[in-house]
Subunit: 195 residues, 2 copies
């Protein structure tokens, strides 16, 4: 069995920010302008953005981009996939030398923003243990977040920072016992359906 995985625990996220507004270009560029991405590898094209680096910075950057876009008051959503482990995780390792200080914590601390989020965790290559692993994740400890189950996904409702904390903690717990983990998520704020 060949193993092309890198030796580091570099994490990544492939995501897209969706402002449902004629001003979508401005909202995206303005959000990116306010977010410090210096501690992650980053590549953007017209379909999605990929960032790679330490887990703490992957969640810090995605959360900050979403919050800076959502605080415009427009209906915005973000959808993507977090990933750790192989395949394809052997480049960009230089960013693993960054320290653990989140660059965007200060910039978002005053933003209060409600949102709804659906996510699904996939521990790869371990389907037999999937239920056991998922049972270890105690979402009842996710303060400030309302948890509900839907088809193929778990729904979280609450403040964006509490939602991202829950996403990161769930992802972190699973990646400690499973080499390759992916986690899909869609988070939505300021939907007119909620007004």
């Amino acid at each position: 069995m060949t193993n092309e995985c890198g030796t580091s625990r570099i994490a990544g996220c492939q995501f897209t920010l969706y402002p449902m507004s004629d001003k979508f270009v401005d909202i995206i560029l303005s959000a990116l302008d306010k977010v410090d991405t210096s501690k992650v590898w980053k590549d953007t094209d017209d379909v999605s953005t990929c960032i790679r680096g330490k887990m703490v910075h992957i969640f810090d950057v995605t959360q900050a981009i979403f919050l800076h876009a959502a605080k415009t008051g427009e209906h915005v959503a973000m959808s993507g996939t977090f990933s750790i482990g192989c395949p394809g995780d052997s480049s960009g390792d230089v960013f693993m030398d960054e320290n653990d200080q989140p660059q965007n914590k200060a910039g978002i601390q005053d933003i209060k923003q409600q949102a709804g989020c659906k996510f699904a965790l996939y521990p790869m290559g371990h389907e037999d243990y999937m239920k056991k692993i998922m049972d270890q994740i105690d979402l009842s400890k996710s303060r400030g977040v309302e948890v509900s189950e839907s088809h193929y996904a778990t729904r979280l409702d609450g403040d964006v920072k509490d939602i991202f904390n829950t996403l990161q903690e769930s992802f972190d717990q699973v990646q400690q016992v499973v080499s390759h983990v992916t986690m899909t998520f869609t988070i939505s704020a300021n939907s007119p359906s909620n007004k």
Copy 2:
């Protein structure tokens, strides 16, 4: 080992349509109005829509919703996860009695629409065989679609119908040999980055 899977091969898709426009509500409602969803189970909330049924109808409905939204000329995207096999696939089986005739083929046949798409296939519980399985998918036979590799995903560029054909064929090939398969995708049309 408990097995809570259903016995049918019911497929599903959890997705969201994103029109980057002030008219997003109208575009979504108008697209849904033009699409026949009678052969799938459907549930929608403010974050995403879940449809379940025969694979042919899951792809028919998602493709038709995307095309009817994209033909407005606005920048629209769709992001989601196709899924087949357990867990959670035991309800909605009544829709497996529908015939295989796609309801929306006639309604979209005259729509020509270019798009870019990134997708990733995850054969669950079979990581050792993942490369072998993926190698069986010969994307060079995907006529009309340009294939390229990016981090965590494969990129397809071409006509929307050719892209959805490639998505469905890839998903179908893997689900024939692996019980539980998920496939994430993001498809984007009319992006100003391409003009």
